[in-house]
Symmetry: C2
Subunit: 138 residues, 2 copies
DNA sequence: ACAGGAAGCGCAATGGTATTGCAAACTAGT
DNA sequence: ACTAGTTTGCAATACCATTGCGCTTCCTGT
């Protein structure tokens, strides 16, 4: 159990502290991206700042990616295997449900190439689709 | 001059107050989307809250649209003619320059249709391309 | 012209999120 | 067990968005 989670951390060169094991364990149980506040509530009682720094570390090391879905709070979700430290491959579509306000990754849907005017250089693309998710559509 | 701006407001059913004329005039002079703080600085000395409410009113009436470019502060830009109150047609790409941190609209580039999994219903799409703009690329 | 009401404005105040500093607690290697 | 470096928890700060409220101003109906 814990060994598995621990390996995930060490593979990404992250010291497996007790706190980080808890955070990763919690992330693994999520079906959608979560905010820092969600994490704080789920791991109560824990210090918000510590959780914040754990997520930052995970992001830096390529274990999670952050999503700005326009809700005001940054969301975090586990990366697919192919992410590396400092070089994310998270160019997939994120979906924000206006009903349940959950954000989920749609990793199968790659972002199409966007034609830019002359002189513009693309480095990063953020594509959020908002609407109603499959759980709320009925 | 002022008459022109005034007409733009009345056409959208917005009372043309002195403050709003100033705000719209300032918006017309911009080449990129601006934040509330930008507006506040440009129209100093003016009350931030009043400017905030002017922008909200403009947005509500379909005169401007807001853009969340991930910079933390909401940006505002004038709509194309075809926007109506409560029903924006601003489904175009926005470009955020990582160098000059300016956000601009790329209205010629419509957002491509994104295929969604079964049961997902799209209502809105937010597409931000980040990179280097034509002014900063050299 | 007058009275009443609606709309707009400016100040104060609140709430939420992100971020940094610092000192104590902890961990790992010797 | 000792020390150096890492991690943690608390305090504090900085923004941004948003609301409440009283005052002024403008419009309207009589």
């Amino acid at each position: 159990m814990t060994e598995n989670i621990e390996v995930m951390l060490t593979e990404k060169n992250i010291n497996p502290t007790a706190m980080r094991l808890l955070v990763l364990d919690f992330l693994l149980k999520q079906s959608s991206a979560i905010s820092l506040t969600d994490l704080e509530k789920g791991l109560d009682p824990s210090d918000r700042i510590t959780l914040y720094r754990a997520l930052k570390k995970f992001e830096e090391k390529g274990l999670v990616h952050s999503i700005d879905d326009g809700s005001g709070a940054t969301k975090y979700a586990l990366c697919e295997n192919n992410c590396e430290a400092g070089h994310h491959h998270d160019l997939h579509v994120h979906f924000f449900c206006n009903t349940c306000r959950e954000t989920s990754c749609l990793p199968k849907h790659h972002i199409p190439q966007i034609p830019l005017p002359d002189g513009f250089k693309s480095e990063e693309v953020n594509l959020i689709v908002k609407g109603v998710c499959n759980k709320c559509v009925h």
